[in-house]
């Protein structure tokens, strides 16, 4: 029976799922990378994702265009990012715990809104497959890489875009400076708080799109707590990827590969003790973190509040 998992068509199917399932991880973890590179740990990603997922779904459910849904989600994400920035940057609160506050707020509010405004689990027709002409006709690779909905492509596009913004723009330089040495950056006239507000709003927007990619892209439903802790994994992926966009991409693919394998094993009724298998990515993350915690260069000012001297 295990052979069934290794036929060519199944392998293509698994890899296709892997590429597709990485979408929310990518959006959320890339957004989190911006915040962490500027020195702010946002543990509330999961809450922002849920809010984004709900609002995108609600807008589409009410009969509006899918892109309007994405835009509304972005707006909500930016607001949630501002809330986090106000608490962590302006009020200089303990970042880990304020993130938990934001998570609970997003979890509670999205469930409250869902139950009040929609009530029961409904479906919508989300973004449809957009096969890229010619490329999607390539044998194997075509289906794996070029036969997805547009949010999937966008997620992968965000990898080089994020890399470019962080490493090749003035904003990126400021982000890295603020994350590494806020005192020095401040002396040079960079607004530490301004930069951190910006990165948290970018992170919020991307986390909300991550949520939207679930509710109007991959699953096309909204349920209470539908992210199931995915946002927390996204935070860990940033550490996993050593704060580099390529590393984040690798981590996201790893997690989605395991998810894809599990989905397909279930679909094909292959008796892998799947509960044990699904523990693997988490155990692996801990192991990787344990081996790399000392070597990697994390933003020196990560999770440290900055208060200007008098």
């Amino acid at each position: 029976m295990i052979d069934e998992l290794f036929t060519i068509s199944t392998l293509i199917g698994i890899l296709h799922s892997c590429v597709r399932l990485a979408t929310p991880y990518l959006f959320a973890a890339l957004g989190e990378t911006f915040g962490q590179r500027s020195g702010v740990l946002n543990l509330g990603v999961d809450g922002i994702m849920l809010m984004g997922a709900f609002f995108a779904f609600y807008v589409v459910f009410e009969g509006h265009n899918l892109w309007v849904g994405v835009l509304v989600a972005v707006a909500v994400g930016v607001l949630m990012g501002m809330l986090k920035a106000f608490v962590s940057v302006t009020m200089q609160s303990l970042q880990g715990i304020s993130g938990i506050g934001l998570y609970l707020f997003g979890l509670g509010l999205s469930s409250l809104l869902f139950k009040t405004l929609i009530g029961s689990v409904e479906g919508v027709s989300g973004f449809r497959q957009l096969a890229i002409p010619l490329l999607s006709d390539l044998p194997g690779i075509g289906h794996i890489l070029f036969n997805h909905n547009i949010l999937v492509y966008l997620a992968y596009l965000m990898v080089p875009v994020s890399w470019f913004v962080i490493n090749r723009t003035t904003l990126g330089l400021k982000i890295r400076a603020v994350g590494h040495n806020p005192e020095a950056a401040d002396t040079l006239g960079v607004s530490v708080n301004g930069v951190r507000y910006t990165t948290l709003m970018i992170g919020g927007a991307l986390a909300a799109v991550a949520g939207a990619s679930l509710s109007i892209g991959l699953q096309n439903v909204f349920q209470e707590n539908m992210t199931n802790g995915l946002g927390f994994i996204a935070v860990a992926l940033v550490y996993f990827g050593s704060w580099r966009t390529v590393g984040v991409l690798g981590g996201a693919l790893l997690f989605s590969l395991v998810n894809a394998l599990q989905l397909w094993a279930q679909a094909l009724n292959i008796p892998i003790p799947s509960e044990v298998a699904v523990m693997m990515p988490y155990i692996m993350t801990i192991v990787v973190l344990a081996f790399t915690a000392r070597q990697i260069q994390k933003p020196a000012a990560l999770a440290r509040s900055y208060e200007r001297g008098e």
């Binding site: 740990l41 543990l43 809450g47 809330l83 106000f86 608490v87 009020m91 200089q92 609160s93 303990l94 970042q95 880990g96 715990i97 304020s98 938990i100 506050g101 934001l102 998570y103 609970l104 707020f105 997003g106 979890l107 509670g108 509010l109 469930s111 409250l112 809104l113 139950k115 009040t116 405004l117 209470e224 802790g229 927390f232 994994i233 935070v235 860990a236 550490y239 003790p273 509960e275 044990v276 699904v278 523990m279 988490y282 155990i283 993350t285 801990i286 973190l289 344990a290 915690a293 000392r294 999770a303 440290r304 509040s305 001297g309 008098e310």
Partner: protein, 395 residues
């Protein structure tokens, strides 16, 4: 104690209450926006939680695991680490208690009960101790590892409740509800009020609150845990083995959460089932923060949040306002409480002196730590310090 210090302490205690009030105000706005009647909703909430014996006993029943988790969070925070793994530690505690009690159900209750509680404590200890050890020895961020351990615990539960721990009667009857067999009746925690769920686990929790207070403020171990939490650098120079106490505070934290799981099994459900952790791992953090990270403060705080959870359920049934409101309110309380810390920190700094260096502030707290001040700076510096220490050892 002079009036100024006294007043400052009073404000410290009142700040969380103020945060709660502001959160409730935001809740009113939310309800108005959603077209619900806030007066009806809130009165249903209060009525449901405190209006009659049934409500009050349910509140206290919910407060029990919240208090136990809250105590664990207090220890971790005081030791300068953040434990977000409460959910997972509750689950492994409950699983261990169930597995032990079901396997040795022939033992007399008087022996079985303490051993069952011990196995839950041990499981929680391990589940919290692993992130503690990784943090202490390798500098791995404990927030991430505790989050991962939560996910692993949930998967472990899914596996055990569908396999080894699945109720044999259910298997025989052909139903497939993922829950364990019932625990022997001899070790069910006695009910304090007949025909309610309110059980004697509450007494255990309050006793443990006193014990944690004693541990933290009256023993050398507790003194060292707090010293490491306040200033790991100074602690290291004072000869305190910092890694050991970092591990210990997370392990003890996990142990209390594990006990929370056991108490839920032994007192409420009498078997292990899915969803047993019920968000207590997070609500316990809220209660601990609300109680200013003081074990005795956690007692009224957990009662308050127990009331909020019970009241919200009743509100949902009575006036159809979703109970999720309570979760959103908890989130707001956390956001407001952690924000108000800025005020406390600034005042502390003023008291120490103009432009006093951070060390001076921490040194001052070293003598007589005012409850819950300056946690922000301290936890962050613990993080940096343990990694800094690691680098030096590497060379």
């Amino acid at each position: 104690m002079n009036t100024r210090v006294y007043l400052a302490k009073l404000i410290d205690v009142l700040l969380p209450v103020l945060a709660m009030l502001v959160a409730l105000l935001v809740g009113i706005l939310l309800l108005l926006l959603l077209g619900s009647d806030p007066v009806k909703a809130y009165s249903a909430l209060i009525q449901g939680a405190l209006g009659n014996v049934s409500g009050i006993t349910q509140t206290l029943t919910k407060a029990t695991p919240l208090l136990l988790v809250g105590l664990g969070i207090c220890i971790a925070f005081r030791g300068g680490v953040i434990n977000i793994g409460g959910e997972g530690q509750i689950v492994v505690g409950a699983l261990a208690a169930t597995a032990f009690a079901v396997s040795f159900s022939k033992l007399p209750g008087l022996i079985l009960l303490p051993l069952t509680l011990l196995s839950a404590a041990a499981a929680g200890l391990v589940w919290g101790g692993i992130p503690g050890l990784l943090k202490a020895r390798l500098g791995v961020n404990e927030i991430l590892t505790t989050v991962m351990m939560n996910q692993i615990a949930l998967r472990l539960m899914n596996f055990l409740l569908r396999g080894p721990l699945l109720d044999p009667e259910h298997v025989a009857a052909g139903t497939s509800i993922p829950q364990s067999a019932a625990l022997p009746e001899s070790i069910w925690l006695p009910r304090l009020v007949p025909r309610t769920l309110f059980h004697s686990g509450a007494i255990l929790a309050v006793l443990l609150a006193l014990a944690v207070y004693f541990l933290l403020w009256r023993t050398t171990i507790g003194y060292r845990i707090r010293a490491v939490g306040l200033n790991p650098h100074a602690s290291r120079y004072a000869g305190i083995p910092v890694p050991k106490y970092v591990t210990l505070s997370l392990a003890l934290s996990g142990m209390l959460c594990g006990l929370a799981g056991a108490v839920e099994v032994l007192g409420v459900h009498h078997r292990m089932l899915e969803g047993l952790s019920g968000g207590y791992g997070f609500s316990g953090i809220v209660a601990a923060l609300f109680g200013k990270l003081h074990p005795l403060g956690a007692i009224p705080a957990s009662a308050l949040f127990g009331a909020l959870l019970v009241g919200a359920d009743k509100m949902q049934r009575a006036v159809q306002v979703p109970s999720a409101l309570a979760i959103a309110l908890q989130g707001l309380v956390v956001l407001f409480v952690v924000s108000s810390d800025l005020y406390v920190r600034r005042r502390t700094r003023r008291r120490v002196g103009e432009d006093g260096p951070e060390e001076a502030v921490e040194g001052a707290q070293f003598e007589e730590p005012p409850a819950g001040t300056g946690e922000g700076a301290n936890v962050a510096s613990a993080d940096v310090a343990s990694e800094g220490a690691g680098r030096e050892e590497d060379k």
